[in-house]
Structure formats: structure tokens, C-alpha cells
Symmetry: C2
Subunit: 215 residues, 2 copies
Amino acid sequence: MANRSDTKTRILDAAEKLFAERGFSETSLRLITSKAEVNLASVNYHFGSKKELIRAVLARYLDVFMPAAADAIVAVRSADANASLDDIFSTLVNPLLELNKLRAEGTTTFLQLLGRGYIESQGHLRWFITTHYGKYLSLFVKAVSESTPHIPPAEMFWRLHFTLGTVVFTMASADALTEIAEADFGEHNDIEAVIRKVIPYLSAGVSVPVNKDAN
Amino acid sequence: MANRSDTKTRILDAAEKLFAERGFSETSLRLITSKAEVNLASVNYHFGSKKELIRAVLARYLDVFMPAAADAIVAVRSADANASLDDIFSTLVNPLLELNKLRAEGTTTFLQLLGRGYIESQGHLRWFITTHYGKYLSLFVKAVSESTPHIPPAEMFWRLHFTLGTVVFTMASADALTEIAEADFGEHNDIEAVIRKVIPYLSAGVSVPVNKDAN
DNA sequence: GTTTAATTTAAACGAGTGTTTAAATTGAAT
DNA sequence: ATTCAATTTAAACACTCGTTTAAATTAAAC
């Protein structure tokens, strides 16, 4: 046993779990390698550095999710050229849930990693995502913008970042929130339930008419 | 010169700026004390520990903002018992902008600190805020809930956390976002403009009717 | 002016970090 | 069986971190 890819995978599996739970900078390589039951130095041997390990962890999900999500959006829009904003957002649900087939808790882990990434990273991760997956992001922005033509581009810029904040923050603390919700209201929510709760919230916010005479 | 409170204030001023910019764990005491031009050990002498310094930095804003915001909300609701959700959110704008009179860039700094706090803290800050300012938070939640009676409590729990995520994330990266917006769309936004952009977004999301037959 | 307390200072401590090194081990090809 | 490259291993390196210590300095009280 223990062929080449085994150690690499053990590291990735342990790292993604810990990164999602506690964030990147709060997770040491020693903690990762002890959970993975591999030697400390093997991280630098297989990945070169901690930064590259972080990128590899994210890439393993993004390489699956991004094309699937793009395909789904293209399909929906060619089936219905006037797909609503809610339709566009809802289209992302299936590609997200498909990640559970990739690995156990895949959807939650991916969303939490995404959240940690956007929250923590100053530069290297943002750069990595926009340069490697920029064309997908453009497609998403285009689909959203064209489904809500009454929102001017500058306003849409802000609203999409509001949306990113909502998703990222919610997912980074999703575990804690579902626990509180269960304790306080007795309703159990899995990750799909949370996603389906957030979509109407986002759709309403992004598409609300701009009040010209504000202030 | 350099009497007792001078050193303390120099530390707080330097710390809040750096904490807001780079986050708590990414800001070392050595960086703070060098910017403040005080000795490294004076942080532990005056504040006891880094954690207590973080709390002191936040308390300096919360002690001003929380009572002012609570008063404003009470005033609005007694003037108009049917104040809308938008009214409630808008009521917070003035207390926020008043922080600019406390210190230069006070509003931005406070909101960014709040964002960093909710993003980074695992326990001690959440505990500090809820135990010291819990009664104000309850008042806010009550005001929001009663302005949107068609949203059941469990759903409101989630939507308020979505809202928290939007605000916190937007503010933590507000500087970067205003720069991009200026470069890409040529429109300059100060902190007040961003606040006034986010309020309609939040109001629409929080108050959107619940779709019973979702899924 | 002397005493006493408060504050500032330089230095070190101990623990933790990512990374590198060089030797040991493994697996496959000859 | 031997060679050779790939991989794993234990150890050390160089650095940063928050915190503590004990001496030096400053300010206040008597």
C-alpha cells in the first residue's frame, strides 16, 4: 500500500476538512499531517508549500463545480431565454449538491472553503480563482445581469458583492447556525435546506428596484 | 508628556487601525507597538493580554454606538408604531455616521472591526458582545421582527444571519470594493453611500414572503 | 529631598510556525 | 540481484508570536 497518490490524497482529505472547519491560517501543517497520518515534510514534497496545498484543495472542488455550474446555466438559459434571477440562482443548487457524490459532506466543505478563501486571503487565492476560473465567473455575472436588466451595472457590482458576502459568511458558519436553529426552533436544516432558504433572500435583494431619489 | 492614558490611547488608536485593515490574528503586538511608538510590553501592562486589547478596541466603539442606536430605534418606533423594515435599518445610519465625530474614519473602522470580529472570533468576542450588549441586540431583533410580522421567527433567525453576513463581509472589504467600483464604473462611494446602497438590498431580502411549497 | 508607587524599558522565555536537509526506505527497471 | 529514482522519515533551521521578568526611569506623595 501507500503508493504515490495515496499520501497526496490523504493530505488533501485531511487538509480540506480542517481548512473548512478552522480556516487556513489557523490550521498548521503539523495538525494536517498528524490527522492524515503522514510525515510533516511530505506536504512540501508533494505540494511545494502550504499556499500551493490550499490552492490544490480548492482546485479539487472548483474543477468539478465550475464547468458543471456553467453548463447548467447555459442549459437553463437556452431552454428559457427569459429565465428569472431566481431560476439562475436555483440552477446552481444541483451542481452544488453533486459535490456530495465526490466526497462525504462535499457541498458543505466546498462552500465553507470558498467562504474561508474569500474571507482570509489577501491576494494569492483571489488571484488564483480569478485567473483560473474567471471565464466561469464572467458567465455567471452575465447571466445574473441579463436576468435583471433594470439594475445598472455599477449597482449590480455592489449587489453581487453583497450576495457573495451573504453566501460566504453563512456557509463559513453554517454548522454553528444549524445547531443554534435546531436548539432554538427545533427545526433541523441540512445544507440543501439552507441553500434553498438563502436563494429567495438573494433574489429579492439583487432585483429590488433602485431608488433614484435616495438620501 | 506621555502620561498614563497617553500610552493607552496610542495603543488603542494604532491597534484599531491595524485590526480593521488586516484582522486580529494577522496583526502582531510588535506591529501595533511600533506604529504606536510605545514599548512592546506596555500592551500587557495596560491591557493584560492581546485578547483584552481586542475587546477594549471594540468596546470603545460599542459603548458609544449601541446606546445611540437603541435610542434612535426607540424614538422612531414611538413616533410611528408601524415603522417599516426600511425605516428601522435607516435609523441606524445616523448613529453609524456619528462615529466619524469620535475619530477620523470612525464609521468605516467600526464596521470593519465588527466584520473582523464576527469572522475571526471563535468564542471570546462573540461571548463578550452578547453578554455586554445583548440587551441592545435583543431590541434590534425585536424591532425588525415586529416590522415584518409575516416572517416566522425561525425564518427570521436565518435572514438576520444572512444580513449580518452581508454587512460584515461588505464592510470588511469595503475599501477594496470602493476602489474597484471607482476604477471600473467611475463612481466614487464613501462609507455613507455604501450603507445607503445596502439597506434596500437587506430590506428586500429580509421581508420577501416565505415560499411555503419550496423544493 | 526622600520615599513610594506607577510606568517604561530591554531582554529573554517558551511555544509554535513553515520550510529545508540529508539520511533511510521503498518500489520498479534493468 | 543490483541499480536508480521516488518517496518517506527524523531532525534541525530560522523565524515569529504573546508573554514574562527584573531593572531602569518617571511621576507623585509626604
